[in-house]
Structure formats: structure tokens, C-alpha cells
């Protein structure tokens, strides 16, 4: 069945509408005061998210593209595609959004700037929904960048905090840098589409419908690998893949609801999602080599760093990177298992990770610390939270029969099959996957152990968490539990369709507990067994990892980032005084030389030809223009101010005569009046000023002459290349004005009709400019008289 365009647009637009209204509502609620003031807008946000969620739910099972024209000449349109993958991603973003908003309303209780906070959070959710449904590369890019901008504002919520600002800027630079790669990849894909379909288009759905043709076109153009590489870099930056993972743990300085949203269902999934979306275009040997390796390495590195973490949010952040690696690896592997693993884990991870972040927020809120060493035995004080953690952390660890187990098992299957099929170095795939999974179990158990055992001395639980904080996490845990018991429920509803959308083969996800030993089952057994064994000596393991980590200090991506940033800052600090030193001549030189050079370079690269020149030149015009040039030279050489002003006047009057010769009587009239006025003003002003002429140093004069001649030559060339040939008819616009001046403007003087009728608003603007200039002149003169002195 075809999707309903209006419903999809409403699902995306509502959050943005909410984002615009929430700050106003916040002010309104502020007048009412009380709980409405402190929490009201959060619940409004939850309502908006719920509405979007319901709208998306209504599209489950539909498939198709709806399109609204945007830039027809480039074939850019607001194309929205509804299919399994889009709906899965949108359901996660909006559904988890409901939980996050409810939780945040309570968590952010009474904090400052809630209008901005919830407004941005809503816009963020809307952008994610936009990415999910986008079937046009330009639309995808726009929403992609919007997510970066919103996350920047959200991560930098504590604007007074240095670390917060540092982290926000880091997230912005990394993800927007990735966005630029995406932009180039988009352009390359559009070029490929032009070759494949014969017309330029940004229609992603059309490209995905013809992957073979696109592939062939891109390969002929030599753009296949560059486009794929740039796309993967963009996705890696967004989805925190090694070595661009470092912004993600930093992003946890944001308020916990933001971390939960950012890390589970939204921001970081965008990269994974786009990989899944474009997978049918690129899947092949190179794709597997690049993407699967990237994913598995990230999975391992993330897991190791999560084991090393000392802060519960840091642990979860690294674990997010690791799980994103799992999904990326899944999408990287060519078999249908790969698509299944990627899509199914997208679903599982969103549920358990959002819940775990909410738990981390509850712990930090109620105990007052996030240091793992200071936490333990919390089950006595937070029994419900402990239960939630039990279900979700075991799902994260991939312990059967919890949800995460099924998707990880499919990934094992995919890596095993790839290795069995290709042999050789590809055996590293299953090895890496198991290695990473061992440490996944270790850090999951570490998190779970916050609630088990005895409470360390000195740690106290302030109070029971509000039900409003626990309920969203509990809801997510229930969903995890349901997926664990009856995985087919989710698979049939949406996950299988989602996997099918990313696959080039038939997809049929089977999720069940193993009944006999197969290689993947053995891999799972090794991972769980190894993980539990390693957890018994977790401190030794951590020391070992820590030693390696410290040894590699020089190549930590974050250190590299800092170095690059400081080099950039030093460079810009030293560039500033060079171009911005307070001297008019410096600014003029830079601006004019640069624009002249750019213009000439443009003519050269476009190989524009100078049109043939008519040799007929009326003597009158030569005379008039000649006198004008002589007057300009005289102005330049004038020793006294008065001489210069008078010769400048000659120039102006010559130009007026030129206008007469060029059939522009109105221009001539205006020019005469203006010249007379300027002459008067100049004479009045220079009377008040001293006769400073400046010593003209020969060397400086020569240097300036070179610059001036360069600029002048550029101007000459510009006129020559741009001037129309003499017999060219009037432009269409001019023709229109001439033809309709009398019938529509009721005036025979076309120039006047244009100014006072067709473009009357422009003329009004011009009058305002003159009025402002006159006022400024008055103010400048009058204020001094009133004693306003520096």
C-alpha cells in the first residue's frame, strides 16, 4: 500500500513546530509557576513525540515514495521514502523520544533554559525523523547537518562549563567534518546518476532501485571508490567509528537524557542508518573490506575502552561505540546475515542502551556519583532499577536468552560465513568479533555489578527515584524482555522489513535459542565463557588494557585532534594581524588583489573568449571618456585638496555627458545634480580640514601603482569579456519592461516606470538608505557638538 505523504510530513514537521512553540510555552508556563513551570514543557515534548510516534506507527508495513517539488531544475525534491528501515529508525527515534522527554521533564526539573533545551531536543528528533525518511540526497544532507547542529547545542547545554563547550565543539567539528564528506559523496552520486539515467537527479530512491546501473556509471566515471570512501568516512564520523570515536565519550557531559537519546536511537545511529540505506549500491568486496573491518575494529576498541572506563556514563559511551561497530560490521558483510545483524541490532541496541543511560542518570541523581569504584550493592535501595539493569545489561552482553544475544549470534553467523567463503585473512572477522564480545560481557557485568554485592563505605542513596524517572526505563526494559522472550514479535512487525531494505538478497531473520552446536553457537559460548572468566580477574584485565592504552598515548585520536586544533588556532592567531592590522591600505590590498586574482583565475579556467570588438567608435564618446580619464589622473596627481575636488567634479560632469551620449537623459540629469551636491559638500568639508597631503615615497608609490594597474587591468578584461555584442537585442527582462511600461505602468518613460512602479519597493529601500545616510551625517556632526568626545 502506498504511504500517505501528509502523514509522513506531519510526523517530521510536528517536532519542528513544537521546537518553535516550546520556548514560548515555557515563558507562558513561567507565569503560571509551580510544576507547570518546572516540568511542563518536557511533557509537551513527550506529547509531540508520542504524536509523531503514532503517525509513524500508522505507516508500518507501507512502502513507497512520496515527493514534493523543491528545486525542479536540479531534480531536488522533498522525497520521503517509507520502507522497513525508515520506519524502524523513525519508530525508535520517536518512541524512545517519548521515554526521553518524560524522563527529562523530571530529570531537568527546574533547571535553566528549559525552553531552549526542549526546543532543541524536539528539533533534534525532527531532524532524525527527516534523515530516516529522506529519499533525496540533498534532503538527507540537510537533515544530517541539522542533527549535528542540534547535538552541538544539546551537548553544550552547560554553556558556562569549559568542558561542556570543548566537547560540544569537538562533536561539532568531527560530525560536521563528516558531513562535508557526505556532501562530496552526494555530488559524486548525482554525477553517477546523471550518467546512469541520462538526467541529473538527487533521487536516492531511484538510485537504489537501479543499483547495477548506478554502480556501472560510477565505475565508468571512476567515482565508485571515492564516493564509497567519503560516505564511509561521513558515517564513521557520525557513528563514532575508530579513529573518529573520541567525540562520543566526550559528549556525555550533556545532561543524561541527551546522552541517552544521542547514544541510543538517534545521532550515532544516523551514520549506521545511512550505511544500511546505501548498502545495496556499494556492497561488494571493497565494501566488506572497508566497512566490516572498520566495524569490527571499532567493536573491539570500544569494548576494551569501556572495560577501562571509570565513570558509568563513560563506560556506556564506549560501549555505544562498540555496539555501533557491531552494526557497521553487520552492514559491511555482504551476506543476508549481515543485513539481518545490522538491522536487528539497531533495534536491540536502541532499547537496551536508552534504558541503561536512563539507569545511569537515576544512579547519578540518587547517589550523587558516577564513579564505578564508589558504587555497588545498589539493589537494596533501588530494586526496580536493579531489575531493569539486569534485563538490559544482560541483553547488552549478548547472554542468551536476552534480545542482544540473537542479533550478535547473527553477526557471528555472518562473520563465520564470510570467513568460510573467502578464507585467508577474513578469518580475522570472526576472531575479532569473538574477541570484542568477550570484553562486551566484561563491561556489561561491570555495569551490572553496580547493583550487586555490597555497597562501598561512604556511599549513600539520597532517596528513592521518582516513578517518573523509573517508568520510562522500565518501559524500555519490558520491551527488551518481550523481545527476549518472543523475538519474532519485533522481527515480524518491522525488523525483517528493515533488514530486507538494506539487503540485496532475500532476508528471513531467525531468532531462537540454539538447539545444537554450530560455529556461531560455539563462538557465543567462547565469548560468554571468556567474558565471565575475564570478569573474575577484571582488575588485572583493566591494568593490562590501561598499560597498552597509556603506551599508545601519542596516537590517541583525541591527542591528534588537540594538536590539530592548537595548530589551527595558532595559525589563525598569526594570520589575523597580517590581514587585519587596522590599516585601510591593507584591507584594500587584500580585498582587491584577491578578488582580481580570483576573477582572472575564473576567466582562465572557464576559458572565456573576448567577443569580437566593433571598431566604430564615435569621436564624441572618445573625447568625453578621454577627458574623464584625464580628470581622474589629475585627481590622483593633485597636490592640493581643492584641485583634487575640482578635477573630481570634471570627471563627474564628463560621466554625465557620457550618459547623454549613451541615450540616458535621466541618468545625466541625476548625475548632474549629484555631482553638484558632492562638489559642494567636498568643498565645505575640506575647508575644515588641514591640508595634509602625505609624503609620497617613491618606493611605495611604485608598489601601489603595480597593485592599481593589476586591478585596472582586471576591470578592463572584465568589461571586455562581459560586454554584449553590439547587435544583441534587449534582454527578456528589459523587453518586458519596455513592452508593458505603457499598458501596465501607464508611463512612457520606461526608466521612471521601472523605478516608481515595477520596482517601487526597491526605490523605497533606496530612499531609506539615503535617509539613513542623512541621519548618520547629522548624528556624526551634531553629537560632537554636544560634547560627545572619545
Amino acid at each position: 500500500m502506498a504511504p500517505q505523504g501528509g502523514v509522513v510530513v506531519a510526523a517530521i514537521a510536528l517536532p519542528f513546530l513544537g521546537a518553535a512553540l516550546v520556548p514560548l510555552l515555557y515563558r507562558l508556563f513561567g507565569r503560571v509557576g509551580g510544576r507547570l513551570d518546572e516540568e511542563g514543557v518536557g511533557y509537551v515534548g513527550a506529547g509531540v513525540a508520542l504524536t509523531s510516534f503514532a503517525l509513524v506507527v500508522s505507516q508500518v508495513g507501507e512502502a513507497g515514495v512520496v515527493s514534493f517539488s523543491w528545486i525542479p531544475s536540479l531534480d531536488v525534491a522533498l522525497r520521503l521514502q517509507v520502507d522497513g528501515l525508515a520506519v524502524l529508525f523513525a519508530l525508535l527515534a520517536s518512541g524512545i523520544g517519548v521515554c526521553i522527554f518524560t524522563y527529562a521533564a523530571r530529570y531537568m526539573h527546574g533547571k535553566d533554559n528549559l525552553g531552549r533545551f526542549f526546543g532543541t531536543l524536539l528539533a533534534f528528533m525532527g531532524s532524525i525523523l527527516g534523515v530516516a525518511f529522506a529519499a533525496d540526497l540533498v534532503v538527507l544532507f540537510v537533515f544530517w547537518e541539522l542533527t549535528s547542529v542540534c547535538s552541538f547545542v544539546l551537548i553544550g547545554y552547560y554553556t558556562d562549563d569549559d568542558e561542556s563547550r570543548y566537547s560540544a565543539r569537538m562533536a561539532m567539528l568531527v560530525t560536521v567534518g563528516g558531513g562535508l564528506c557526505l556532501l562530496v559523496a552526494v555530488a559524486m552520486l548525482a554525477i553517477g546518476a546523471e550518467a546512469a539515467f541520462g538526467a541529473r537527479t538527487f533521487d536516492l530512491a531511484a538510485m537504489l532501485a537501479e543499483p547495477e546501473a548506478m554502480r556501472a556509471a560510477l565505475e565508468t566515471k571512476g567515482l565508485f571508490l571515492p564516493a564509497m570512501g567519503l560516505l564511509v568516512v561521513a558515517a564513521a564520523a557520525k557513528s563514532a567509528q575508530v579513529p573518529l570515536h573520541f567525540w562520543l565519550p566526550r559528549a556525555m557531559v550533556a545532561p543524561t537524557p541527551v546522552s541517552a537519546f544521542l547514544h541510543s536511537a538517534t545521532m550515532v545511529k544516523v551514520g549506521v542508518y545511512v550505511l544500511g540505506r546505501t548498502r545495496p549500491l556499494f556492497v561488494g568486496e571493497e565494501w566488506t573490506l572497508l566497512v566490516a573491518t572498520l566495524g569490527l575494529v571499532t567493536m573491539a576498541v570500544g569494548a576494551l575502552l569501556a572495560v577501562l572506563a571509570t565513570d558509568i556514563k563513560e563506560l556506556l559511551a564506549y560501549s555505544t561505540a562498540s555496539h555501533l561497530g557491531l552494526m557497521v560490521a553487520g552492514f559491511g558483510l555482504g551476506s543476508h546475515y549481515g543485513a539481518e545483524a545490522g538491522a536487528f541490532h539497531l533495534f536491540n541496541h536502541a532499547l537496551f542502551k536508552a534504558a541503561l543511560f536512563l539507569v545511569a542518570g537515576i544512579v547519578a541523581h540518587e547517589v550523587g556519583t558516577r564513579d564505578i569504584d564508589e558504587l555497588g550493592g545498589l539493589w537494596r535501595d533501588l530494586p526496580v532499577t536493579a531489575l531493569i539493569t539486569g534485563v538490559t545489561a544482560l541483553s547488552m552482553a549478548g547472554i542468551p536468552p536476552f534480545g542482544g544475544f540473537y542479533s550478535k549470534e547473527i553477526l557471528f553467523e555472518a562473520t563465520w560465513e564470510a570467513a568460510a567463503h573467502d578464507g585467508g585473512a577474513t578469518w580475522l572477522f570472526p576472531a575479532l568479533a569473538v574477541f570484542a564480545s568477550i570484553f562486551t560481557v566484561v563491561y556489561s557485568l561491570r555495569f551490572l555489578w553496580l547493583f550487586v554485592g555490597d555497597r562501598p563505605e561512604g556511599t549513600t542513596v539520597a532517596h528513592r527515584p521518582s516513578p517518573l524517572l523509573v517508568a520510562p526505563a522500565a518501559l524500555l526494559a519490558v520491551l527488551v524482555a518481550v523481545t527476549s522472550v518472543v523475538p519474532d514479535l519485533a522481527i515480524d512487525a518491522v525488523v525483517n522489513d528493515a533488514a530486507a531494505a538494506t539487503a540485496v538478497h532475500d532476508v528471513e531473520i531467525h531468532a531462537a535459542l540454539p538447539t545444537h552446536v554450530t560455529p556461531p553457537v560455539a563462538m557465543s559460548a567462547v565469548a560468554v565463557g571468556g567474558g565471565v572468566a575475564a570478569f573474575r580477574v577484571v582488575e588485572d584485565v583493566r591494568t593490562a588494557i590501561g598499560r597498552v592504552h597509556a603506551g599508545l598515548h601519542a596516537v590517541h585520536p583525541e591527542a591528534v585532534y588537540d594538536r590539530l586544533l592548537s595548530v589551527t588556532e595558532t595559525a589563525s592567531a598569526s594570520l589575523g594581524p597580517l590581514v587585519h592590522n587596522g590599516l585601510v591600505r591593507t584591507y584594500v590590498s587584500w580585498a582587491l588583489i584577491a578578488s582580481s586574482a580570483l576573477a582572472l583565475a575564473g576567466y582562465a579556467s572557464a576559458t572565456v573568449a573576448i567577443p569580437s570588438l566593433s571598431t566604430e567608435v564615435p569621436v564624441t564618446i572618445v573625447l568625453v571618456l578621454g577627458v574623464a580619464v584625464l580628470a581622474a589622473i589629475a585627481t590622483t596627481r593633485a597636490e592640493a585638496h581643492v584641485t583634487g575636488v575640482l578635477t573630481l567634479g570634471i570627471l563627474g560632469f564628463m560621466v554625465a555627458i557620457f550618459y547623454i551620449l549613451a541615450s540616458g537623459p535621466d541618468l545625466a540629469l541625476t548625475q548632474l545634480i549629484v555631482e553638484t551636491l558632492v562638489l559642494l559638500i567636498f568643498l565645505l568639508v575640506i575647508e575644515q580640514m588641514p591640508a595634509f597631503y602625505g609624503e609620497l615615497d617613491r618606493r611605495i608609490a611604485a608598489r601601489d601603482a603595480v597593485v592599481s594597474l593589476f586591478v585596472g587591468a582586471t576591470a578592463t578584461v572584465t568589461v571586455l569579456v562581459a560586454a554584449p555584442s553590439a547587435d544583441r537585442p534587449l534582454s527578456d527582462t528589459a523587453r518586458y519592461y519596455v513592452d508593458s511600461a505603457v499598458p501596465e505602468g501607464g508611463g512612457a518613460n520606461v526608466v521612471n516606470v521601472i523605478l516608481t512602479d515595477f520596482r517601487a519597493l526597491d526605490t523605497l529601500g533606496e530612499s531609506i538608505v539615503i535617509a539613513v545616510a542623512a541621519l548618520s551625517v547629522l548624528v556624526l556632526l551634531a553629537m560632537r557638538g554636544r560634547g560627545e568626545v572619545r
Binding site: I681, A715, A723, A773, L781
Partner: protein
């Protein structure tokens, strides 16, 4: 014709730029004024210059017609330039008074001395 205009525009830009690079603030304002004139001439040239005749003036009544279909000089660039003349007048006047005020504040017309440096 185009060549004559191109050379004129080039010469005016050269002079204007040279004046912009001077230390004397009044001359900087002259430079701005000359470059404005050059830009206007350039704009007019973009309409395609033919030797002016009575018939080319874009005033329809003068041609004995009331309706369209008439060949005239390009009225669009003329309208643009008319606006530009007036705006550059405002700009020149403002720049002059600003220079005057700046002189009053700083006690000098030398822009290099303002920046506190030598050339």
C-alpha cells in the same frame, strides 16, 4: 566602442585603487568616488552601448508609439545605474562626514597614524 569603455573603466579603476591606498583620508574618499563612477559606466556598458540617438532614448512617447515593440537603449541598466548614482552619492557624503569626524577625534588625516604604525 566596447574597447573604449573597457579602457576607460580600467583607467578609472587604476586611479581609484591608487587613491584608496593613500594615507590621506580625503584621497581615500576620492578613490571611492572614482570607483563608483567607473562601476556605473561599466553597468551601462552591459546594456550594450550604441551611439546615442534620439530614437534610442527609452521614453516611448518620444517615438510616437504608445505600445511596445520599440527598440530602445536598455532601460533596465539605466534604472540600475540611476539607483547606483543616488546610493553612491549617499555613500560619498557619509564617507566624507565620517572622515571629518574621524579627523576631529584623531587630530590627523593620516590613516597610518591612526593604526599607530608606520608604513
Amino acid at each position: 566602442m566596447t574597447l573604449a569603455i573597457a579602457l576607460t573603466v580600467g583607467a578609472l579603476f587604476t586611479m581609484g585603487t591608487f587613491l584608496l591606498l593613500r594615507d590621506d583620508l580625503v584621497r581615500v574618499v576620492w578613490g571611492v568616488a572614482i570607483i563608483s563612477q567607473a562601476a556605473n559606466v561599466y553597468l551601462i556598458a552591459m546594456g550594450g552601448i550604441e551611439e546615442g540617438t534620439f530614437d534610442l532614448v527609452p521614453i516611448l512617447a518620444g517615438h510616437g508609439h504608445d505600445a511596445g515593440g520599440v527598440e530602445t537603449a536598455d532601460p533596465l541598466v539605466q534604472a540600475l545605474v540611476l539607483t547606483a548614482i543616488v546610493i553612491s552619492f549617499g555613500m560619498t557624503a557619509f564617507a566624507l562626514v565620517l572622515s571629518y569626524r574621524a579627523y576631529e577625534e584623531n587630530g590627523t588625516m593620516n590613516v597610518t597614524e591612526w593604526a599607530g604604525g608606520d608604513q
